[in-house]
C-alpha cells in the first residue's frame, strides 16, 4: 500500500470532472442560505454528516469488496433527487476514466463494462481506492472530504468569498470529518456481514430539493 496514492486520489486537481459541480452550493447561495464563511461552514457540516457519511460508507464498502451493482442500487435508494442521481453517475463515469488511466485494473475494467454510462461516484471511488492499493478508511476520508471541499471552492467563485476564509472552514471541519470517516467505515464493515441495509441513509432534504430546482435553471455556473 502506498500512502502517497491517497494524495493522488484526493487531490482536487485529479481530473475526474469535479470542478464543474458545486455540491449543492450554487442552489444554497441563490436561496440565500449560504452568504458568508459562517453559513458556508454550517452548510458543509450538514453535508458532511449526510451526503458525506453516506458516500464514505459506500466507498468503504466497495473497498471491502462488496458487490458494486448492489452498492450502486443502495446509492440510488439513498438519493431521492433524479438530478443528483444523474450527477452522481456522470461523476462516477468521469472518475472511472481517470482511475483506469491511473491504476489499471481488471476490476475497474469490469465496472466500466457493467456501467457504461457510469455507476454512482462513491462506488467508483471505493473501487479506485482499492485499485490504488488503499484501504476503506482512505476511501471514506476521500468521500467525506470531497463532500465539503467541492462546495467550499465553488463558493469562493460564487460569492467571491475570501479563499483564506473558505480554507479556514475546511480546516475547522477536519475533526468532524475524522468522525464521519470513522462511522462510515464502521457501517461499511457491518454491511459486509449484514448487507447493504446496514449502510447509513442520512440525507439533507434541502440538498435534494435544491438540486431539482437548480437543474431547471437556464443560466448557472455549475452543473450541479
Amino acid at each position: 500500500m502506498s500512502r502517497a496514492a491517497l494524495l493522488v486520489l484526493a487531490d482536487g486537481r485529479f481530473p475526474a470532472g469535479g470542478h464543474a459541480h458545486s455540491g449543492g452550493a450554487e442552489a444554497a447561495v441563490k436561496a440565500g442560505r449560504v452568504t458568508c464563511a459562517a453559513s458556508l461552514e454550517d452548510f458543509c457540516r450538514g453535508r458532511a454528516h449526510t451526503a458525506g457519511l453516506v458516500a464514505g460508507a459506500l466507498a468503504a464498502a466497495a473497498v471491502l469488496g462488496m458487490d458494486a451493482a448492489e452498492l450502486d442500487a443502495a446509492a440510488d435508494a439513498r438519493t431521492p433527487s433524479p438530478a443528483l442521481r444523474a450527477a452522481a453517475r456522470r461523476l462516477g463515469r468521469q472518475l472511472l476514466r481517470a482511475a483506469r488511466a491511473s491504476w489499471p485494473s481488471d476490476e475497474l475494467d469490469a465496472l466500466a463494462g457493467a456501467f457504461p454510462k457510469g455507476a454512482h461516484q462513491p462506488v467508483v471511488l471505493g473501487l479506485a481506492a482499492r485499485a490504488a492499493g488503499l484501504g476503506p478508511e482512505d476511501a471514506a476520508y476521500c468521500a467525506a472530504y470531497e463532500s465539503v471541499s467541492g462546495p467550499a471552492t465553488a463558493t469562493v467563485r460564487l460569492l467571491s468569498l475570501d479563499p483564506f476564509d473558505a480554507t479556514g472552514v475546511l480546516a475547522r471541519l477536519a475533526p468532524e470529518l475524522d468522525r464521519v470517516a470513522d462511522s462510515a467505515v464502521e457501517a461499511a464493515r457491518r454491511a459486509v456481514t449484514e448487507g447493504v441495509d446496514a449502510l447509513p441513509a442520512a440525507s439533507g432534504p434541502l440538498l435534494e430539493v435544491g438540486a431539482e430546482w437548480h437543474a431547471a435553471w437556464p443560466v448557472r455556473l455549475f452543473a450541479s
Binding site: G18, W103, P104, A112, A131, L221
Partner: protein
C-alpha cells in the same frame, strides 16, 4: 496493485481508435477570447462541410447554453449532433486540465450518431492562455478578431503562438476600429514562424473557405 499494461479497452481519449477497433472521428478544438467569432466559425464550417462529411459539435458555454442554442436555431446540424458541456465557471479547465466531461461528450456523440468524420469542440470564450489538451483534440484553431486590438498577435501567449491554425476574424471591421492588418500579419508571423494564419471575414464573400480547406487537409492526414 496492477500496473501492467495488459488492459486493452482504451481508458483515455487520445487513443485514435474506438473500443470496437474502428478509427474515431478527427477532433478539432476552437478556442479564443469572448466574442471573437468561434461559434460563427463553427456554424460556417458546418454549412461548408456537412454535405461531404459526417459532423458533430460540442460547445462549452461558461454559464448558459447559448452557443448550442444558436447552432440549433441556425439549424446548421440536426439537434442530435450538437452537445453542450457545462464547465463550472472555468472554460479552460474543461478543455485542458480536466477534460473528462468533454471526452464523454465526444464519445457519446460517436456512439449515438456515428460513424463521424469530424467533431468540432468549441471552448467557452476565455483568455489568451487557454489551449486544448492533446488528450481531447487532435488539432486546435485559435480565433481572435481585429476588434479586440491589433496588438494581440504581438502579445502572443500559448493560444496565438502554438495553435495549429490562427484565425484573425472580422477583417471587415478593421477600417472602423483602426486595426492594422499588415502589422497583425507580421506580428503573427514573428510569433508563429511556419504555423498558418488565416485572415477571415464571415461577412465577406470568401467567408470560412480557407479554414474549411485547412480542416480538409487535417482530415486527409488523419485518415491517410
Amino acid at each position: 496493485m496492477h500496473l501492467d499494461h495488459s488492459h486493452h479497452a482504451p481508458a483515455v481519449g487520445a487513443d485514435a481508435h474506438r473500443p470496437d477497433g474502428t478509427r474515431r472521428a478527427l477532433r478539432i478544438g476552437l478556442g479564443g477570447p469572448v466574442g471573437s467569432g468561434k461559434t460563427a466559425t463553427v456554424a460556417a464550417l458546418c454549412r461548408q462541410l456537412r454535405q461531404e462529411l459526417s459532423l458533430a459539435v460540442v460547445t462549452n458555454d461558461i454559464y448558459t447554453r447559448e452557443d448550442a442554442e444558436f447552432l440549433l436555431r441556425e439549424a446548421v446540424l440536426p439537434p442530435e449532433r450538437i452537445t453542450a458541456v457545462e464547465t463550472g465557471a472555468c472554460p479552460h479547465t474543461a478543455i485542458r486540465d480536466d477534460i473528462s466531461a468533454n471526452l464523454e461528450a465526444v464519445e457519446d456523440l460517436e456512439d449515438a450518431v456515428g460513424p463521424l468524420d469530424l467533431i468540432l469542440v468549441e471552448s467557452g470564450g476565455d483568455n489568451l492562455t487557454a489551449t486544448f489538451s492533446k488528450g481531447l483534440v487532435d488539432a486546435q484553431v485559435f480565433v481572435i478578431d481585429v476588434a479586440g486590438g491589433d496588438d494581440i498577435p504581438r502579445k502572443g501567449g500559448p493560444g496565438v503562438t502554438t495553435a495549429d491554425l490562427l484565425v484573425v476574424n472580422k477583417t471587415d471591421l478593421a477600417p472602423y476600429v483602426g486595426s492594422d492588418l499588415a502589422r497583425m500579419a507580421a506580428d503573427a508571423k514573428a510569433q508563429r514562424a511556419e504555423l498558418p494564419v488565416v485572415f477571415q471575414s464571415l461577412r465577406g464573400e470568401t467567408g470560412v473557405a480557407d479554414v474549411a480547406a485547412w480542416v480538409r487537409e487535417r482530415l486527409a492526414a488523419w485518415t491517410a
